[in-house]
């Protein structure tokens, strides 16, 4: 009853090898085989240890199953097993020689919109599973729409359970063409379709022997190669200031044995886009004062420049008033400074919107108060139809709204910048994160 344990992917022998990171989500309706797919990916890439395999062998046997149930690998908490449901997003990890992968595994129940939006917010790629017997269904369109809304531009359409349709090419092609027509209507750019059988492992890590008509990549080949991460170094500079580090000589705030010979004042943050280049002139917002970059450092290492995603500390050549929530930006390409934003929001809270209440909005490192000034329309995620002027917003709703801000924010469109184009909304009374939004 055990699947073979022999390693088919030889782990690299050397200690370190060049490796990039890919974060993806898997989406499908309840019985599309999502857990089997993830289990299979982990199992066939040798990411599962023998004690975990023993545990699922025992459970499989207890349940009277004749084969190893790989979906048990993603079985979560006791509370979930008791109720037979999945409560929450789980994150899973595996490596190949080329890449480290992080899977955001969101459950497919009523709260799906909320969970999928959450998982998609940090994903570069989405695997959409469809059952070959059912083809593209409402959920497929819903998941595609949500992935697209959250800026996940690379999609893998995995037509699963090909064994149950006798591995037929025409069925696969019809589903693929259906899906491509739909995805094209949303403007999705990067799609890879492939026929798989997650249960038996066809085209996941090993090429299928039952579908000789298919000569494309296996899922893992594609995941290893695909470039789903957008290059944001060519975009205009956006450096939200997270903290100001101020060290004076002899005030005890400096680390021991430092090589400081004078006062240090630096701006800590993680680069959202563009390049921080020593010598470049930048503008600080909201003051709009200009300064040149004197140094870019990561601990005691001075860098000539920093690329997006890197956490650094920046020194400027002159003292200007900058604090947390301010932003260093490209001198000739500013974000919009706004007191009003238009956004698509996903409502995450069980408590509906109170239109007259003020909420907190956290955008980059800045938190301000906001008011819902207009509700333009709600998107029915199943039909993608817009319902104008909704009277309320409840959990899992996707709504185009207008927000008024008490203080200005420095924003870009989400399509251009996922960092400066996104925000969350917090209820000041309950402290709950009640909504997430993308700026349009």
């Amino acid at each position: 009853m055990t699947a073979p344990l022999t390693p088919n992917l030889t782990p690299s022998e050397s200690g370190n090898s060049a490796k990039s990171l890919l974060r993806f989500i898997t989406a499908g309706s309840v019985d599309d085989g999502k857990s089997s797919l993830i289990g299979r990916l982990l199992y066939d890439t040798q990411s599962i240890h023998s004690d975990q395999i023993t545990a699922i062998q025992q459970t499989s046997a207890k349940r009277g199953l004749s084969e190893l149930d790989l979906s048990l690998l993603t079985d979560g908490l006791q509370a979930e097993r008791e109720q037979g449901i999945t409560i929450d997003i789980a994150y899973r990890y595996f490596n190949t020689e080329q890449r480290k992968f992080i899977i955001g595994d969101a459950p497919g129940h009523e709260q799906y919109t909320r969970n999928m939006v959450t998982a998609a917010s940090t994903a570069d790629l989405a695997i959409l599973l469809v059952d070959a017997r059912k083809g593209v269904v409402t959920q497929t369109r819903r998941h595609t729409y949500l992935a697209h809304l959250l800026g996940v531009n690379a999609i893998v359409l995995a037509v699963n359970k090909m064994d149950l349709v006798d591995w037929r090419q025409d069925i696969y092609q019809t589903i693929r063409d259906d899906y491509l027509a739909f995805a094209a209507s949303l403007g999705i750019e990067q799609i890879c379709a492939l026929p798989i059988c997650a249960l038996k492992g066809d085209n996941i890590v090993h090429a299928s022997r039952s579908m000789n008509w298919y000569d494309g990549p296996t899922l893992i080949d594609h995941l290893n190669r695909v470039s789903a991460h957008r290059d944001r170094s060519e975009n205009p500079l956006r450096f939200p200031v997270q903290r100001v580090a101020r060290v004076k000589l002899g005030n005890g705030a400096a680390i021991k044995n430092n090589d400081l010979n004078k006062e240090f004042r630096g701006y800590q943050g993680t680069l959202a886009s563009g390049m921080l280049v020593v010598g470049d002139e930048v503008l600080a917002l909201p003051s709009r004062l200009a300064a040149k970059i004197k140094s870019v450092k990561l601990a005691n290492q001075s860098l000539p420049h920093a690329t997006p995603d890197l956490s650094v500390v920046v020194e400027l050549d002159r003292e200007i008033d900058i604090s947390r929530g301010d932003m260093l930006v490209a001198k000739n390409d500013l974000p919009e400074t706004v007191r009003e934003i238009h956004a698509d929001i996903c409502w995450l809270s069980e408590e509906p919107l109170h239109t007259r209440r003020k909420y907190l909005i956290k955008h980059t490192t800045r938190t301000v108060r906001c008011l819902f000034s207009d509700l333009h329309y709600r998107v029915d995620v199943n039909t993608l139809q817009k319902h104008l002027k909704p009277s309320d917003i409840v959990m899992n709703d996707i709504v185009r709204v207008e927000l008024k801000l008490q203080q200005p924010l420095f924003v870009d469109h989400y399509a251009e910048n996922r960092v400066t184009g996104s925000f969350i909304i917090i209820d000041e009374a309950t402290h709950a994160t009640i909504a997430a939004g993308v700026i349009v």
Partner: protein, 324 residues
């Protein structure tokens, strides 16, 4: 045969490797740079948004990595966190020596609170003087949080360690009882962390959430982070209990009828003596350890944690009770 249109709209230059390396972070191990940057962002967010943060430093490898990251996050400022170790009283001497020396190296104030004190106060009662004190740490931790008025605890827990951890948030809210409520967690989107708490509540923050055991070792190697000697192969007196090597110490003597032997071994996790076991190993360098982990077929906790073996949901239960 199907033509090659499976990849329908795949943009050609997406597969250009040179292009990829240009845009990426600085060196070969891009994934380590990314993990490092993410952890630094989280550490700075904690420093910026909380009043009284504490970093839990046990002398184990994950907390050593966390402390090193804190150093990098704030340089040239001192690390803005005090350190706390919950001492079960059953720790290896080498680890305690390492803990004190490293805390001093980083010029950080170290608080030590011991389960022994909780026993004396009567808040922890042992059924058996030699029983594992690991689970009792939660009580002492909560007492320390209250006494020292911490509003946030930074810990080195990782999601790949255990399946209850896979569902933990990076910023995880705890009530006065330190309870983790898996059904009532705040959604976490992008890098926008909701840090709000009420009086009496505190936050647990896990900057290493997205790291795996292999990432940790690769990072230790790259950064040259010092570890207690227990992590490297050494000769040790043990008894074999099934697949487990139980170390023989004053507090964990052999049971009647058991024979002791000397085995070349190392620890994969270092914690309370009564519940961490070594694994047979000849790895004396980090390179050798990494090679071992890559070919290893047993999880870190499965191999060495006697406390998680009790039941499938052991960790989940302890976390609900305030455990890390």
């Amino acid at each position: 045969m199907l033509d090659t249109t499976q990849i329908i709209i795949e943009n050609q230059n997406h597969l250009n490797v040179d292009d990829q390396s240009r845009i990426s972070l600085s060196n070969a191990n891009q994934h380590l740079d990314w993990l490092e940057s993410e952890a630094i962002f989280i550490l700075r967010e904690v420093a910026a948004e909380f009043k009284n943060p504490v970093l839990l430093f046990s002398g184990g490898k994950d907390s050593a990595v966390l402390l090193h990251l804190a150093y990098k996050a704030f340089h040239p400022e001192k690390i803005g966190f005090v350190l706390l170790h919950i001492d079960t009283g059953h720790n290896y001497g080498e680890v305690i020596e390492y803990r004190d020396r490293i805390a001093q190296c980083y010029d950080s104030m170290l608080h030590v609170r011991s389960v022994e004190d909780s026993i004396r106060r009567g808040t922890v009662r042992l059924r058996d003087p030699l029983e594992s004190r690991n689970a009792h740490q939660s009580v002492t931790l909560l007492e320390a949080i209250e006494e020292l008025a911490f509003d946030v605890c930074l810990g080195g827990a990782r999601r790949d360690e255990e399946k209850a951890r896979a569902k933990e948030r990076v910023f995880s809210l705890r009530d006065e009882f330190g309870q983790w409520d898996p059904k009532n967690q705040r959604p976490e989107l992008w890098m926008l962390f909701n840090t709000r708490i009420r009086p009496g509540e505190h936050m647990r923050v896990f900057p290493l959430s997205n790291w795996t055991e292999l990432d940790i070792w690769q990072y230790i190697e790259r950064e040259g982070i010092e570890l207690p000697p227990l992590y490297f192969a050494h000769d040790r007196t043990v008894v074999r209990r099934g697949e487990i090597l139980a170390p023989v110490t004053e507090i964990t003597p052999p049971k009647p009828g058991e024979t002791t032997e000397t085995v070349r071994c190392r620890f994969r996790t270092v914690g309370d003596i009564s519940c961490t076991a070594p694994v047979e190993s000849t790895a004396v360098t980090i390179d050798e350890i990494i090679a071992e982990i890559r070919s290893c077929k047993i999880t870190e906790r499965g191999a060495t944690r006697l406390d998680d073996r009790a039941s499938e949901a052991a960790m989940e239960q302890r976390k609900k009770e305030g455990y890390f």
